[in-house]
């Protein structure tokens, strides 16, 4: 009992540190997901509708990124980009690496969703005289969005987990903050558990939100 009170005491002492770490984790994740999704949509469009050379280049990009550990991407964008004249601080480099990683996954999700739409949909749209851009915005994209929502939510949760890797380049997100606290009070079990709980809470919220949106946009049948 006493031990638990001691833990609560330590949590109270470290509350601002934890909250700052949590805030940073959330910002990193949101930024990476947002940037990665925008870039990923472009990647997906290129993979689906691009001409041969473009498809080849973008395919090489996604295969390369998806085949590389995120940790390596994080380290590379922090240590290697500066050698070619791109100076990013740890936060920027980390977000960049996660966004790139996210984009390769979202790109595949977008491509898969668009290609899963039966060709008859495009034909029907053509037959009533819609141009390609009208067909895309009114017929294909709304269907693709519904199709990819669950997988996209999954990727978003993966990004939150991957944000912990930024601790190795010194970004003071939740995991690094937790480690700092532990180095002061040696309550490793308790504080790692707390950190785990917080990550779970974020991802649980993302998942619930995804389910909510899915219900909202589902087509009655």
């Amino acid at each position: 009992m006493n031990e638990f009170l001691a833990f609560l005491d330590q949590v109270w002492l470290a509350r601002f540190v934890i909250l700052r770490g949590l805030g940073l984790t959330v910002s990193i994740s949101l930024l990476a997901i947002a940037l990665g999704s925008v870039l990923g949509v472009l990647v997906g469009l290129a993979l689906t509708y691009g001409n041969r050379p473009l498809r080849f280049v973008v395919r090489a990009y996604t295969d390369f990124i998806r085949g590389t550990p995120v940790l390596v991407l994080v380290l590379a964008s922090f240590y290697i980009l500066s050698t070619i004249g791109i100076e990013l601080n740890a936060f920027q480099a980390g977000v960049f690496a996660l966004a790139v990683f996210c984009s390769s996954h979202v790109g595949e999700i977008v491509r898969g969703a668009l290609q899963a739409i039966p060709p008859g949909q495009t034909e029907a749209a053509k037959a009533i005289g819609l141009t390609f851009s009208q067909t895309f915005t009114s017929v294909l994209w709304p269907q693709a969005l519904r199709q990819m929502l669950p997988t996209w939510v999954n990727t978003a949760a993966e990004m939150v987990k991957a944000s912990t890797l930024l601790s190795v380049i010194g970004v003071a997100e939740l995991l690094l903050r937790t480690q700092e606290i532990i180095s002061r009070n040696f309550m490793s079990l308790e504080f790692y558990f707390l950190a785990g709980l917080l990550y779970f809470a974020i991802n649980y919220a993302i998942e619930r939100f995804g389910k909510y949106v899915e219900r909202k946009v589902s087509v009655p049948s």
């Binding site: 034909e123 029907a124 053509k126 005289g129 390609f132 009114s138």
Partner: protein, 256 residues
């Protein structure tokens, strides 16, 4: 001389090295109802799809109201028209498909309204009332706000027909519209087509419903191996086929 609504001249179409259409000639007047019959692989669906450029074609010309579809001559060279121009020409015809191809994320009314709003630039309210009028015509006035997934196959196909007709096309193309339906749902779709025919709609139908083709058509075209094998009045065609191929085909078909 009456102007032809549709004129097909020496139409040729290849998939790779396989020639599917080997020079099809055909003309059609306003108000005609023409059924295209023939065994599978004879090129009947391909011919229909060339008319609204769902398929490119390599030779010959297709004219609607004298306007060449899909291609034009520039300095003696045959070039494909711009996508925008082709989109405009596609709206000259309406098409109903074997698999209905309704947009599943839109209600029946929205399916019909999409082309009216995007292509005809109609205001939303106006498009809605046009859509309701046509859904009423195909007997689905009560189903305007249902989604395709909530409708039976026959109802979906009727919505698809309403979607095409609402665009006020010069010519309706029907591509085996009853082939994917349960037998008990075929009748309601054929009835809609019959009503349209009675209204004087020009129609080109690819069909396996021989009895229907016999009853509704003003003319029948029998496609055989990429060319027109025989064409003429349905009574002559079905009752006194002139070619051996047609006689053989009719024997194996459901027409009795």
């Amino acid at each position: 001389m009456t102007k032809n609504l549709l004129e097909i001249q020496a139409l040729r179409k290849r998939y790779g090295s396989v020639e599917v259409l080997k020079g099809v000639d055909c003309t059609m007047q306003q108000g005609e109802v023409i059924s295209i019959i023939g065994s599978s692989g004879s090129g009947k669906t391909t011919m229909l799809r060339c008319i609204n450029m769902l398929e490119d074609f390599q030779g010959g010309r297709i004219l609607i109201d004298g306007e060449p579809i899909g291609y034009e001559e520039r300095n003696g060279v045959r070039v494909r028209k711009s996508e925008k121009e082709i989109a405009r020409q596609r709206a000259l015809t309406g098409m109903a498909f074997q698999q209905f191809n309704l947009f599943p994320h839109m209600t029946a009314a929205s399916n019909v309204m999409l082309g009216l709003i995007k292509v005809k630039k109609m205001a939303r309210d106006e498009a809605r009332s046009v859509a309701e009028k046509w859904l009423e015509r195909v007997g689905l006035g009560q189903r305007a706000d249902h989604y395709p997934g909530q409708l039976s196959g026959g109802q979906q196909q009727r919505v698809a027909i309403a979607r095409a007709i609402a665009m006020n096309p010069r010519l309706m193309l029907f591509d085996e519209v009853t082939s994917a339906l349960d037998p008990e749902l075929v009748g309601e779709v054929l009835q809609v087509i019959k009503d349209l025919a009675a209204d004087g709609m020009s129609m080109l139908l690819v069909t396996h419903e021989m009895r229907f083709a016999f009853e509704v058509s003003s003319r029948v075209i029998f496609m055989n191996q990429g060319v027109i094998g025989e064409e003429g009045d349905p009574k002559v065609m079905f009752l006194k086929p002139q070619t051996e191929r047609l006689a053989e085909f009719l024997k194996t078909s459901s027409f009795a």
